[in-house]
Symmetry: C2
Subunit: 134 residues, 2 copies
C-alpha cells in the first residue's frame, strides 16, 4: 500500500469511515488505528454513535502531514513528540525548529542516497560496456 495525498476528496456530512480514510491517504486500516493508539493524531478520531471512527477534512490533512513525515523517515516517536507540541498553541517556534531539523536530516539522507546512486550508476555503466562489447 503506497501512501499518497488526495487533497480534494469529497467528504460526506457524516465523515469518512476508517476504511475510506485509509484508502484516501494510502494507509491501511490497521495503520490508522495504530497511529491513533501511538498518539500520532492531533486528537482521537471522532466516533459515530455506533462507536465507529469518523474522519473529516482536518483529520485527513493531519494524516497527510504524518505521511510526509513518515515518508521522509521520521520515526514514530518523533512524530508523536511533534504531535504533542502541536496540541498547544503559542509554540510555533518550537514546531518550526523540529521541522527545520528534520529538513536537515532529510537533505543529508538525500545527499547520501545520491552519492550511492552515482556509484551504482558507475557500476551499471561498467556492465553495460562489458555486456555490449561481448
Amino acid at each position: 500500500m503506497v501512501p499518497r495525498l488526495e487533497p480534494d476528496v469529497e467528504i460526506p456530512h457524516g465523515g469518512l469511515t476508517i476504511g475510506e480514510a485509509a484508502a484516501v491517504c494510502g494507509l491501511s486500516v490497521d495503520t490508522l488505528r495504530y497511529y491513533e493508539r501511538e498518539g500520532l493524531t492531533a486528537l482521537p478520531a471522532d466516533r459515530a454513535p455506533s462507536g465507529q471512527r469518523r474522519y473529516f477534512a482536518q483529520d485527513l490533512r493531519w494524516l497527510a502531514g504524518i505521511v510526509m513525515l513518515r515518508g521522509t523517515g521520521m520515526p514514530i516517536r518523533d512524530i508523536r513528540a511533534f504531535t504533542e507540541i502541536c496540541r498547544y498553541e503559542g509554540n510555533e517556534a518550537e514546531r518550526l525548529a523540529v521541522l527545520e531539523q528534520h529538513r536537515e536530516r532529510v537533505l543529508e539522507q538525500l545527499n547520501e542516497t545520491r552519492n550511492h546512486l552515482a556509484a551504482i550508476e558507475r557500476k551499471i555503466d561498467f556492465y553495460r560496456k562489458g555486456v555490449s562489447s561481448s
Copy 2:
C-alpha cells in the same frame, strides 16, 4: 555508525582484522559477521592461522558495494541474491538487470522523498511567516 567508503586505505600484507575492516567501511564488527553469515560476501572471509578473519582490498571493495546497495535501501535478501549471481561468470547481463531495476526503485524513492520534502518546506515557510510576524 555511519557507513562510508575509504577507497585508498593501506592494507598490510596479512590483511585487516575484522575490527579494522569494520572501521574502514563504517560498519560494526557484528554487522560484518552478520553479512557473512547471510551470504552477502562474495566468499567467506579468509582466515589467519589463528582462525581470525582477514580482509583484503577486494573484500573491502565488495563491502563498499554492499554499503551502497544497503544505503539505497536494497533489502538483505536481494543483496544475497545479487551476490549469488555474482559468484558465477558469464551472467553480467543479469547483474546489470538487477542494478538497473534497483536504480529505478531508488529514483522513485528519491522522487517521493523530494515531494515530501517540498511539502515540509511549505510547512516551514508557513511557520516562518507566522513566527516572524508575531
